[in-house]
Symmetry: C2
Subunit: 643 residues, 2 copies
C-alpha cells in the first residue's frame, strides 16, 4: 500500500485564509444579465435602478368623494352653506382616480349632503386636500435603488411603480461539486434494506449544493469519483474549461495517501492554502486552476459545512456583491465548563434553552463526523484560537441557528435518556404547534444537577434508592433541598440485559458475567442505569472488577444496543425498547419508574402545562405501549411534591 | 354615477381578526406529497423522519494508520517496543474505511516506525481508539426530525446519512391573486415612454406573489380585471372551484361605490371581517367561499403589504405548519416625537442609524400609497392602539427590515436634500462595498438640529447668512456652539426658478411673482432654499403676502419641479439639476455652497473617511458635472473647523 503522504503547508488562521482567498479572487465578479423585474427576486442589481415615470404620474383622488376647485368652496360654513353642481363645479371621484382638469381638492363623501345633482357643503376645502399629488411616491429620474441592492418583494413593487420593468443583475455563480471517495455510494444507488456494513451514503454534495443555493449560486453535482488521481484530475480540468465559477472537490483534502485534492490542484494550478486553524474543518484547502477557484473540502460532514461557510460561501457572495449574512447572536451561559484547544478556533455546537429568562447552553458532541450535532444544535459558540475554554460563569456570544423566539418557547429537558421523550416531542408538536421540546442526555444525576443550576425546565430521572427500592424521591430530598419540585411519572419501563439475537452465549443473568469471558458495555457514571447495575452487582456479591468492559461506557440506551448489535459487546444493561428497535434479545432485570422532575417555578407555565396535557393524553399512552417494554399505569400521575 | 356604498362591519383589532381567521381555517392543512430528500429543501415534514440505517453502519477508522487488536499492543513501551506484521496483526486503513474483522483500534500513521512489512510500536493502543463506532452519529430507528420540521441543508445531510431518501412533506399552498381596478395597466402592456397621466402600473400582484413565495406558497396571477361586479364574481367562483387554497382580490376592498370585494364574497359566501384597526391596511377583509379563504386586499401598496403580512401570510404558514417568522427587533430612540391616532395600531416606517452606539430612528412619510416608504425603511415601529404617540426620550422596539449589522455600518446623513447625495450613495457602494449611506431630508436647519441631538453622522446644509453672503459657518457658530465640527464642501450648485418648458408666462425673475397672478410652490420652513427665497424677497422689497402659493410647501427640489411639471404651480425656487431632470426651464438666481457638516467625533471613523475619499475622487466629480447645474471646484475641501 502506498504510504506517500501530502504535507500541510503552513496552517493559516481563518482570517488569514479569508484574506488570501478574497484577495486572490477579488476580480471574480459574475457577468451582468437583464431580467424582467418580476423574475428578479433575490438578485443583485448590477446597475442602479432609476425611475422612468413618476408615481402617481397625475394628481389622484386619495378618498372617494367629489373633486372641486378649492376656491369655489371658500366661505362655506354651517350658517351659509355653498351649493355645488355635479358635472359643473363638482365631479364624483373614487380613490385613485385622476382629478378632472380644473379641480385641486377632494371632499370626502361622508361630508356631503347630496340632493340630486346639487351638493351642499358646510365647510371650505383647502387646496390639495385628499389629493395624492403627482410624484408623491416616486419622481421620474429618482434613484430607486443603488447598484448592489438585493431585490426583494418590496423593491419589485417600487420598480414597477417607477416604470422599471427590466433590470440588469449579476448572474448566479455556477458551482461544480465533485464528490470523491471509493467507500461512498450515491443515494440513488442505495436502498436501506440492502446496504451492507462498509456502505456509506454520500451526503456532502447535497448539503453543499443546498448551501450554494442559500448563497445565491447554482450548482451541479458531478458523478461520484473513486479515489483515483487521474480521473479526478481529468474531471477538474474539464470543469475549469467548462466555465464554472467555482469547483469543489469533496473528500481527499487531508494528508492521507488517498487524499488527491492537493496533487490535483497543484499539478493543474496552484495551491494557496492547505489547512486552517479551525475545528472542525482544519484540512480544507483552496487554490487556483487557470482562472477558477478550486476547493478541497474535507469529507467529514461538519468539517465540510464549516469549510464551506467560512470560505467558499462568502466567496460566492462576493462574486455577486451580496453582503455577508451573519447569523444573529445572543449571549448564553454554558451549563458546564468547556475546555478547548489553544491554537485553533472551535465551532462548538450547543443546545440553548431559556430558563428563568437566562439563555443556558449545553454542548453537543464535538466530533466532526456527526452531522446530527449540527441538526440538533440551536447555536454555535466560536471559541477563539487564543482561548483555552469557557467557564460556566461567563456569558459568551452564540450564533443562533434557530430563531430566538422559537428557542424561548422550547421546554428544556435534561437528564436521563428515554425513547419516549422523542415520541413526546413529536406528539407535543402535533397538539401544541407553538411549543417545542429540546432534550439532552446527561444521565439522571446530571439532570438533578441541571435543575439545581437552573439550566433546564425539567429533568428525566430513574434513580433507584438501594435502601428502600424507591425511585427519585430520596435523591430529590438530598440534592434538591430548598428547591420546590413536583415529580410526575412519564412511564414505567423494563430494564434488562440486551443480548444478541438468539442469545448465542446463553446468558441467563448478570451473574453469568462474573467469569470475565464476556464483554460488557456499561452506561456512564451518574446514569440511573449504572446505579441500577451497581445495586444489582452488590446484591449478587460481585465487584466492578469482575466484569470485563465495566469501564467502557455509552450515553444512551440505543448506543448500548448498537454496541451489542455490532459485536463490540456481548451484553449491556438497557431498556427493552432499545433491544426491540434493533431486533435484539432482551432479558428483564427490573421494572422501574421513569419520572419527570419539574421545579414549582415552571410548573404552571403554559408550555409545561401543554406538555403535561399531552403526557396524559390517550394518544401518547397508546404510542408508548406500541413501542413495547413500557407500562403507562402511572403515566402523568403526580407522585410526590417537595415542600 | 352610482353612490351605493358598502358599510364596514364592526372593525376588529389585529389580534381579533387573526384569531377569527386562524380559527375559521384551522383545518386547512395542505395535503401530503412524497419528495426525494434532495428536492425537499425548505419543505415541512408531514411525518417524522426515522433513520433507516445507522451512521456509520460499521466501525470506521477515524484516522489514517493501522488497524490492530488493542490487546496485541498491551505492554508496548519505549524500552520494550512491540512488532506488528502488516497483513497479520496490522492492516493499513484510511480515514472512513471499515476496520478489518478482529481489529478494534487504530494507531495513527504519525506514531509508527515502518520497516518493510514490520511495524514497531512504542506505546499500547487502547480499545476503540481512533475508531468511529457504528451508530456514533445516527442509530437506525432513531428519530431524526419530528413532523413539522422545516428541511434545510443540514437536515438533508442527516436524512441521507440515516438512509432516508424520500420524505413526506406538506404541499405548497396554491394562491390565486386577482388584481382589479379599471385605472390599472399590467406592466407587460406599459412602456415608460408612452404612458399618459392616469395610467397606473399594477404592481401589487407582483409584490404579493413574491411574498407568497417567501411564505412557502405558490402563486398564479390572474389577468387583471376591470371594476365590474359580475366579471370579478365569475373569476372568483372559478378560482374557488379550481382548487386554489386561497384567493386574494386586490383592490376594491374599501367602502367605495366601485369596491366590489365585499359584494363578491358576500354573494358567493360569507364575509367574516371587514376592516381592521390598523394603519396602513385598515380596509382589508376576508371571508369564506365554499371552503376557500378569500381576501379583499386594499389597493394602496403599503396597505396591501401590511394586510398580507398580518393575515394572509401567517395563514399560508399555518396551512403548512410553518412557524411564524418574526422580524428581529432592536430598541430605537425616535429623533423626534411621533404622534399617532388612538384606536388604531400604526406601522410606522423608519430609517435607523447607529450614532454613538445608540440606534436613532427617523420617521418616513406615513402615506399608505407610498411603496418607497417601505423600500427606504430600515425598520417598522408598531405603535399600539391604546397609545397616542411616542416621545423622543423613549426607547421603543422596532422590527428590523435590514440586518442590524448593515444598519450599524451605515453613515446617516440628515438635512438638506441634494441629488448628488444619491450619486454619492451609489459611488460609495462601488468603492467601499461594506459602507452604506442613508439620507433623510428634513431641510438644512433640521440637519443642524439632528447633529445637536446626536441623531446623525453628518448633515447636508446650504444656509445663507444674509449679513455677509456666507454659507453655514455663522449657523454652525450659533446653533452648534460647543460641538466641534468640520465643514466640507460637497458641491457648488445653481439655484433658480424652475419654469415650465418654454416659459409660457415669460417670467424674468422673482419680481414678476409680486403681481399675485402666478402660483408659486415653496420649500418647507427651515430649508436653505426657503431662507434664500426670503433673503431675495427682502432684497426686492417684497413680503410673503405678495406671493400667491407662498404657504404651499414641498420637501425636496424634485417635488418642486414635479409641481411645476404637473401645472400645480407656475414656478418654484430649486436647483438646476431638478429642472434638467424633468426637462423644465431654469432661470439662475444664485450659486451656493452645499456642504457637509461633520462632528469631529465621527470624522476619523473608517466609514466617514471612505465617504470623503469617494467625494474627492475624480470619478465622483465627473458624475456630478454630468448632471448639470453643479460646480466641483471646492468639492471635498475643508472650508471651516470649529473649536
Amino acid at each position: 500500500m502506498n504510504t506517500k503522504r501530502n504535507i500541510y503547508l503552513d496552517m493559516k488562521s481563518i482570517e488569514e485564509a479569508q484574506a488570501c482567498l478574497f484577495d486572490a479572487f477579488k476580480d471574480h465578479i459574475t457577468d451582468v444579465e437583464t431580467l424582467d423585474v418580476v423574475r428578479a427576486k433575490e438578485r443583485v442589481l448590477a446597475s442602479q435602478a432609476v425611475a422612468a415615470i413618476s408615481s402617481p404620474n397625475f394628481h389622484a383622488a386619495a378618498m372617494d368623494g367629489i373633486a372641486v376647485e378649492a376656491e369655489d368652496t371658500f366661505g362655506a360654513s354651517e350658517d351659509s352653506p355653498k351649493t355645488l353642481e355635479i358635472g359643473k363645479t363638482a365631479f364624483w371621484v373614487n380613490t385613485g382616480h385622476a382629478l378632472p382638469g380644473g379641480t385641486n381638492a377632494v371632499i370626502m363623501i361622508e361630508h356631503l349632503n347630496v340632493d340630486g345633482d346639487s351638493i351642499e357643503i358646510e365647510a371650505p376645502a383647502f387646496p390639495w386636500q385628499y389629493v395624492r399629488k403627482m410624484g408623491e411616491d416616486i419622481v421620474a429620474t429618482q434613484l430607486l435603488f443603488p447598484r448592489d441592492h438585493q431585490i426583494n418583494a418590496y423593491s419589485m413593487g417600487a420598480m414597477l411603480s417607477g416604470g422599471v420593468f427590466q433590470v440588469e443583475v449579476r448572474k448566479k455563480p455556477r458551482v461544480l461539486i465533485i464528490p470523491t471517495g471509493s467507500e461512498l455510494k450515491q443515494w440513488q444507488d442505495c436502498s436501506p434494506g440492502t446496504m451492507v456494513p462498509g456502505d456509506v451514503v454520500e451526503s456532502n454534495s447535497t448539503v453543499l449544493g443546498a448551501l450554494c443555493e442559500d448563497h445565491g449560486a447554482e450548482f451541479r453535482i458531478h458523478t461520484m469519483l473513486r479515489d483515483d488521481l487521474e480521473t479526478i484530475k481529468k474531471s477538474v480540468a474539464d470543469a475549469v474549461s467548462g466555465g464554472y465559477d467555482m469547483v469543489m472537490i469533496i473528500g481527499g483534502s487531508s494528508a492521507g495517501s488517498e487524499d488527491f485534492a492537493k496533487p490535483v490542484i497543484s499539478s493543474l494550478g496552484e495551491v494557496y492554502v492547505h489547512g486552517v486553524t479551525m475545528m472542525p474543518g482544519k484540512p480544507v484547502m483552496f487554490g487556483r486552476i487557470a482562472d477558477t477557484p478550486v476547493f478541497g473540502i474535507p469529507g467529514y460532514p461538519v468539517s465540510a459545512i464549516v469549510a464551506f461557510e467560512q470560505l467558499a460561501g462568502p466567496l460566492l457572495r462576493r462574486m455577486q456583491h451580496l453582503p455577508d449574512k451573519p447569523l444573529p447572536t445572543a449571549g448564553v451561559t454554558p451549563a458546564r465548563k468547556v475546555a478547548s484547544k489553544l491554537g485553533q478556533e472551535e465551532f462548538l455546537r450547543v443546545k440553548i434553552g431559556s430558563v428563568d429568562g437566562k439563555l443556558m447552553s449545553s454542548q453537543l458532541p464535538r466530533g466532526s463526523g456527526s452531522i446530527t450535532t449540527l441538526t440538533e444544535a440551536d447555536g454555535i459558540i466560536r471559541i477563539p484560537r487564543h482561548v483555552e475554554g469557557i467557564s460556566e460563569t461567563e456569558t459568551v456570544q452564540a450564533h443562533l441557528l434557530r430563531p430566538l423566539d422559537a428557542i424561548e418557547k422550547t421546554v428544556v429537558i435534561t437528564g436521563s435518556h428515554d425513547n419516549t421523550l422523542d415520541l413526546l416531542t413529536d406528539q407535543v408538536r402535533q397538539n401544541h404547534p407553538r411549543t417545542g421540546i429540546s432534550s439532552s442526555h446527561v444521565g439522571s444525576m446530571g439532570g438533578l444537577m441541571a435543575i439545581k443550576k437552573g439550566a433546564c425546565h425539567m429533568a428525566g430521572s430513574h434513580l433507584l434508592d438501594p435502601e428502600d427500592g424507591s425511585y427519585n424521591v430520596s435523591y430529590i430530598e438530598k440534592y434538591l433541598a430548598g428547591i420546590p419540585v413536583r415529580l410526575v411519572n412519564l412511564v414505567m419501563r423494563e430494564q434488562g440485559l440486551i443480548l444478541p439475537k438468539g442469545n448465542p452465549e446463553k446468558i441467563g443473568g448478570l451473574e453469568d458475567l462474573a467469569a470475565g469471558k464476556l464483554q460488557f458495555i456499561n452506561r456512564q457514571p451518574g446514569s440511573g442505569t449504572r446505579i441500577l447495575l451497581d445495586y444489582k452487582l452488590k446484591e449478587l456479591g460481585l465487584s466492578p472488577n469482575d466484569i470485563a468492559g465495566y469501564e467502557n461506557d455509552e450515553y444512551t440506551h440505543m448506543s448500548v444496543a448498537v454496541a451489542v448489535l455490532s459485536g463490540r459487546a456481548d451484553t449491556g444493561l438497557g431498556i427493552k425498547a432499545a433491544a426491540l428497535a434493533l431486533g435484539l434479545d432482551f432479558l428483564p432485570v427490573v421494572t422501574e419508574s421513569y419520572d419527570l422532575i419539574i421545579p414549582e417555578t415552571y410548573y404552571r407555565s403554559a408550555n409545561i402545562q401543554a406538555l403535561l396535557e399531552t403526557v396524559r393524553s390517550d394518544e401518547f399512552k397508546a404510542r408508548v405501549l406500541a413501542l413495547g417494554g413500557y407500562g403507562v399505569e402511572k403515566t402523568g400521575e403526580e407522585l410526590y411534591r417537595s415542600a
